[in-house]
Amino acid sequence: MKELSIQNLSCQAESNLILKGVNLNIHAGDCIALLGPNGHGKSTLLNTLMGSPHYHVTEGQAFLDGEDILTLTPDLRSKKGMFLAFQNPPDVPGVVTMDFFRSAINSHSEKPISLYNFYKETTKAYEQVGLNSNMASRILNEGYSGGEKKRNEILQMLLLKPSIAFLDEIDSGLDVDALNLIAKVINDLRAQGTTFIIISHYDKLYDLIKPNRSAIMVDGKIVLEGDFSLTKKVSENGYSFLEREYHISIEKKEQVSIDTCAIKETISK
């Protein structure tokens, strides 16, 4: 990947407009700290770029090296080198982690991986993220602890070697050792040329990887960009300076919905 250019991207979930014209250019080798108060669209942006079925793009494009990826299904986006580490990886009932890894790796290569190489690569990746490789025989994400899920996301990033990775609060719920370990993996991949967009609410991870750029998202738009010093400023002062110095209101303009908001979900075991 040379460039990901997000142009005037708007999207909605059900009838609520969440992204309201996002513009952001990401260049190869960038590591962007995506900042902003809770609920202003950061996760939505990353999920929309990856093709989540929850969001409907209403306007705009996202060009990966000139190709509008928003028309592609998620699997094709992945094959173009995009990767999303999920904030809350879902349980995938019935699917054994090992079978999933093998399918994912095979979908990225011309011919199926040999059993020997598969074993070698997964064992190494499990080691790198500090998980026991016997987890591969468990059902994907089912019964994993919060920390195990996060490490398992990073593990998949190691197996798939994306050219651009979106990390959505990968550090939430991690202990200090795990955080250091994940920062190391990110730094190693950066050195090999992987581009990153990283959402975090804590400066500890950002301090360990020192993103070269920062972008602040408010009410579905990127309102301010800067270098790493902007990330530091946010972590020290919060977001109130936006209003003071840049006259950017961090109040969301809520849409009033007159639809019913009752959602009923029934699953019995």
């Binding site: 990856m50 093709g51 989540s52 079925p53 929850h54 299904t73 998620p74 699997d75 986006r77 992945s78 094959k79 990767f83 999303l84 999920f86 990886p89 879902p90 349980d91 995938v92 009932p93 019935g94 699917v95 054994v96 079978d99 999933f100 399918s103 994912a104 979908s107 990225h108 059902i139 998949q156 798939l160 699953i267 019995s268 075991k269």
Partner: protein, 220 residues
């Protein structure tokens, strides 16, 4: 006695030795069969249905004193015809037990039905029973029904039932596809994963391979 068979001829049966049987069906027709499990004996029966036929299969199983039934059914519905499994377990003797579990995948526009009933008559003690059904709909127009029924007429029993029915979680599908796995391949992983605990009970390598090949070669 342990056996694995493909498309066996089903008939009424009295089970008077412990029996473990696993059957793979690539064709299945309407029928009503009556099994009786004799005192102190057990029947461990596995049915795997990959047929494309229309059927209403009714199994009546009587359990005498201290008789045990374990019945596992896996069904893949992809045909344009309706399929019904109707299982009726009668606990005729004390201390008898039955465990019935059904796992279904419905990728058709038609109906897949599981009705599992356990009857415990008045005066029959220390019975244990469970009826469990789970169907994943992979097609938006699939119609599925799971109905685990307990008819309990005595109070000294352990009985439970469970039903899970619905579309496969779209988040889980998104997760799989976001790793480069096509939608079709993701669905195959889900199907295989859901049915494999039951498929593995075939215990016959060539039959297990036949099932796996069936899914591998299938266009969903």
């Amino acid at each position: 006695m342990t056996s694995s068979q493909k498309n066996p001829y089903l008939s009424d049966e009295i089970i008077s030795t412990d029996q473990t049987s696993a059957y793979l069906f690539t064709e299945l027709n309407d029928g009503e069969y009556h099994f009786v499990v004799d005192e102190t004996h057990s029947l461990d029966l596995t049915l795997i249905d990959l047929s494309s036929s229309k059927f209403n299969l009714k199994l009546l199983i009587d359990l005498k004193r201290d008789a045990h039934l374990s019945l596992s059914i896996a069904s893949f519905q992809y045909s344009n015809l309706n399929k019904t499994f109707d299982i009726y377990v009668k606990h005729l003797g004390d201390a008898s037990s039955s465990f019935v579990r059904f796992a279904g995948i419905n990728s058709s526009d038609n109906k897949l039905t599981f009705i599992g009933t356990s009857l415990i008559p008045n005066g029959i003690k220390k019975v244990e029973t469970r009826q469990e059904g789970r169907i994943n709909n992979l097609s938006s127009s699939a119609k599925s029904e799971v109905s685990p029924v307990l008819l309990i007429n005595d109070n000294d029993v352990k009985a439970s039932h469970g039903a899970a029915l619905g579309a496969y979680n779209p988040d889980a599908l998104f997760y799989l596809t976001s790793r480069g796995i096509s939608r079709e391949e993701s669905q195959k992983l889900i199907i295989k994963g859901t049915l494999s605990p039951i498929i593995n009970k075939l215990h016959d390598e060539s039959l297990i391979k036949e099932v796996n090949d069936f899914f591998q070669d299938r266009k969903l």
